[in-house]
């Protein structure tokens, strides 16, 4: 009987052979006549598309619709005199984002690795070189600096006080109310009617509120559906199946049109609140199923082991089952959040001036009639940026929590 030494393991691994670009192309793109033909055809199609798009972007397209209405895209009909409040909100978010990054990365050897520096440099270059939105876009440079400074500070603080994570979470929590205050006014600030909330600010606000509401609700529904109490289980199942059987647009119309008819005259919840609730209720049903999938993936043995250690049901759930289940469900949950973010576009159908809705209004301005390609392309880029950032974040969290075998 021979024992296998670790050495023989490593030598058994195939060596990674670095291929030159020519050899790489030959291996992956031109291995035989059929693959070569495919490569040529597909590259041809892409090149044709790219040339068409570029020539359109530089000759036919009239981009002035974007810079001239930039404030509208970002904040809708929000009074322009109060824009400093939106900038303050952005500064808070940037500062907190940097701080969290620093705290989370406190054990990483270099926070500003080469790829991060390249990324930051690209962002700055884009801000400086992308002409349409100057001069207000130049204010974004200090924001990038703020992220970097806050990250460095957060790293130092995270090393000194290991318990700072809790406070950062608390700060995020409080920032939500700061956002509400800065956008909506009151308490010493000029109030802004929710009717004037719009553009990207409204999109982000509804998405964040919807996500924050649907997560606990979905969690409870998932637990309810697996509960041993029959009534709780039936009610949860009924809710999930009912909501999943109804399109979101129908729920939104219910919220905007039907709810006021049921309520007594005079008590009429805000339209944005109604939309957020509809979004959250809808997403919670889907989220519950994602979480339930995660719960089912946790082996029963974990539960039994916890019981045998003397943990009661809440602690078993909170300390043993849920952390594992949620970790498994992260990709599905983030997928649900991304689709909730995109579902906010449906609010334009029920008359809220979110990003897509305000885009429609701008397109109706006689000065920009027919500029839909430019506007919709711009909106697509914004939506892509946020969705990609979310999926990037989810991948980072997965890596961080990857304690699997």
């Amino acid at each position: 009987m021979t024992t296998v030494t670790p050495d023989s393991f490593s030598s058994a691994r195939p060596e990674v052979v670095g291929l030159g670009p020519v050899a790489w192309a030959k291996k992956n793109l031109f291995s035989d006549w059929f693959n070569s033909l495919l490569t040529v055809v597909i590259v041809g199609i892409f090149a044709w598309g790219a040339v068409r798009l570029t020539s359109w972007a530089f000759t036919t397209a009239q981009w002035r619709v974007i810079p001239n209405n930039f404030g509208l895209f970002m904040t809708g009909t929000f009074p322009s005199g109060l824009y400093p409040r939106i900038w303050a909100l952005l500064a808070i978010v940037c500062g907190l984002a940097g701080l969290s990054w620093g705290v989370l990365g406190r054990n990483v050897s270099t926070l500003f690795s080469r790829s991060v520096l390249i990324g930051l440099g690209l962002v700055c270059a884009f801000i400086v070189l992308f002409p349409p939105t100057r001069p207000s876009s130049l204010k974004l440079l200090p924001m990038v600096a703020l992220v970097a400074i806050a990250a460095a500070a957060g790293r130092q603080a995270g090393r000194k006080f290991p318990g700072i994570g809790k406070w950062v979470s608390l700060a995020w929590f409080l920032s939500y109310f700061a956002a509400l205050w800065l956008i909506g006014g009151g308490l010493g600030l000029t109030p802004v009617s929710t009717n004037d909330w719009g553009g990207l600010v409204l999109t982000l606000f509804t998405a964040v509120s919807g996500i924050a509401l649907c997560f606990p609700l979905g969690l409870l529904l998932a637990l309810g559906r697996r509960s041993a109490l029959p009534v709780v289980r039936w009610l949860s199942t009924a809710y999930i199946e009912l909501v999943r059987g109804v399109p979101l647009v129908a729920l939104l119309f219910m919220g905007q049109v039907m709810i006021p008819l049921f309520l007594p005259v005079g008590s009429r919840p805000d339209r944005i609140l109604r939309a957020i609730i509809a979004l959250a209720l809808f997403s919670a049903a889907y989220l519950a199923e994602n979480v339930r999938a995660g719960l089912q993936a946790v082996p029963r043995g974990q539960n039994e082991a916890a019981m045998s250690l003397g943990l009661n049901t809440p602690t078993t759930l909170g300390l043993i089952v849920l952390p594992q289940a949620l970790k498994i469900a992260i990709p599905a949950i983030v997928g649900q959040f991304i689709s909730l973010f995109q579902d906010t576009t449906l609010l334009s159908i029920v008359g809220l001036a979110e990003l897509l809705g305000i885009g429609k209004s701008i397109l109706a301005n006689p000065a920009y009639l027919g500029r839909y390609a430019e506007v919709y392309l711009f909106l697509a880029v914004i939506y892509w940026l946020f969705c990609y950032a979310m999926s990037l974040g989810s991948r980072k969290i997965e890596e961080k929590l990857n304690t699997g075998h």
């Binding site: 318990g163 979470s169 995020w172 952390p323 008359g351 305000i358 209004s361 397109l363 839909y372």
Partner: protein, 352 residues
């Protein structure tokens, strides 16, 4: 342990966010205060008019670069606000989809509707609406290329027509063509932008929609002069402001402010010369502007309500020219929308 704390914080965040949300926004909507005392009193007490608009119709309601609503429909809202509250800017615009506009109005979410709504008998009776005078007479038209040789609808035999699906436009088109016995090929689109793009690419010989929209869109085509409107009107589309049944006091206000815009043009009173009519000899104008009589106060408005309307918004002619007429990108002819004395349909009953 740290993760557990984070989880708890996250849960707390979301739950409290829910709580915070309800408290902060409950006072945001002032739209639904009781209708018992009449909508006019509600508007006066609120100090703001809530006006339902579309928010996305070129020339009628859109958001301009400074973030303010403008357009012909919007100016009607402004006129009512100027008459009732003395301030044309005291309006909160509510964007309404075509499916929810009537529910929003009858549910009391908006005070009035100024949203490209066609006056029809079923809407007036079974839906329970009151239609104020028409502010824009539209009709369905047909846009063709000037060199296509098409001059009447009969010439469309075997040709393709681009049309938006699910609208009365599509219905009118097929009805008209069936009546004429013309076999044509409808090319339907979900979206107006897509339909005009297809027409521009030559996928159809004709493009049909409301004439005002066709003219507006023609100006965005690469060579506007190569396209002409056929001399045919396939439907009547009288568009105007709307209120609900069972509140004649409020309906009278909207109705007579709208008539006032037309009457002001007939009198030749504009936003620029309204000051010169102070102490006028003409008794009709003196009554109209509230220098004599009690036309305004009888309605529950200040007696000089038309002075406010004309100073802040202008007369109908000014509103028209500014938004869709000669001073706009569209340069629409007055046509049916001219005063009755100039061959149009705009006619106001006398102010006396």
């Amino acid at each position: 342990m740290r993760k557990w704390g984070l989880l708890a914080a996250a849960l707390g965040l979301t739950l409290a966010a829910c709580g915070g949300e309800t408290t902060t926004t409950a006072g945001g909507d002032g739209g639904g205060t009781a209708t018992a005392g009449g909508r006019l009193d509600v508007v006066k007490n609120r100090g703001q008019l809530i006006c339902g608009v579309d928010g996305g119709i070129p020339g009628f309601s859109f958001v301009d670069e400074s973030g303010t609503y403008s357009g012909l429909d919007v100016d009607v809202c402004k006129a009512v606000a100027a008459a009732v509250l003395g301030d044309a800017e005291a309006v909160e615009y509510r964007r309404l989809d075509s499916t929810e506009r009537f529910t929003a109005l009858s549910g009391g979410e908006v005070d009035m509707l100024s949203r490209n709504t066609t006056w029809t008998i079923s809407r007036d009776t079974s839906v329970g609406l009151e239609f104020a005078p028409t502010t824009f007479f539209d009709g369905q038209g047909m846009l063709v290329r000037a060199d296509s040789g098409i001059e009447t609808l009969e010439d469309f035999a075997g040709q393709a027509v681009c049309v938006e699906t699910g609208t009365t436009t599509e219905l009118n088109l097929t009805d008209q063509m069936r009546q004429l016995g013309v076999e044509f090929e409808p090319v339907v689109f979900q979206d107006a932008d897509a339909a005009y793009a297809a027409y521009d690419e030559g996928r159809c010989e004709g493009m049909t929609s409301d004439k005002s929209q066709l003219v507006a869109r023609r100006s965005t085509l690469p060579n506007p002069d190569e396209h002409v409107l056929l001399e045919v009107t396939m439907s009547k589309e009288p568009l105007g402001p709307v209120t609900t049944n069972n509140d004649s006091g409020w309906f009278d206000v909207v109705k007579w402010v709208t008539y006032g815009l037309i009457q002001a043009e007939e009198f030749g009173i504009t936003s620029e010369n309204v000051g010169t009519f102070e102490g006028t000899e003409n008794p009709d104008i003196a009554r109209f502007l509230g220098q004599e009589g009690t036309l305004g106060t009888d309605m529950g408005l200040p007696n000089d309500f038309m002075v406010q309307v004309i100073t802040q918004v202008g007369n109908y002619g000014e509103v028209y020219e500014r938004n869709v007429g000669a001073d706009s990108e569209f340069a629409l002819e007055r046509g049916q929308n001219a005063l009755w004395s100039e061959g149009g349909l705009m006619y106001s009953p006398p102010f006396r």
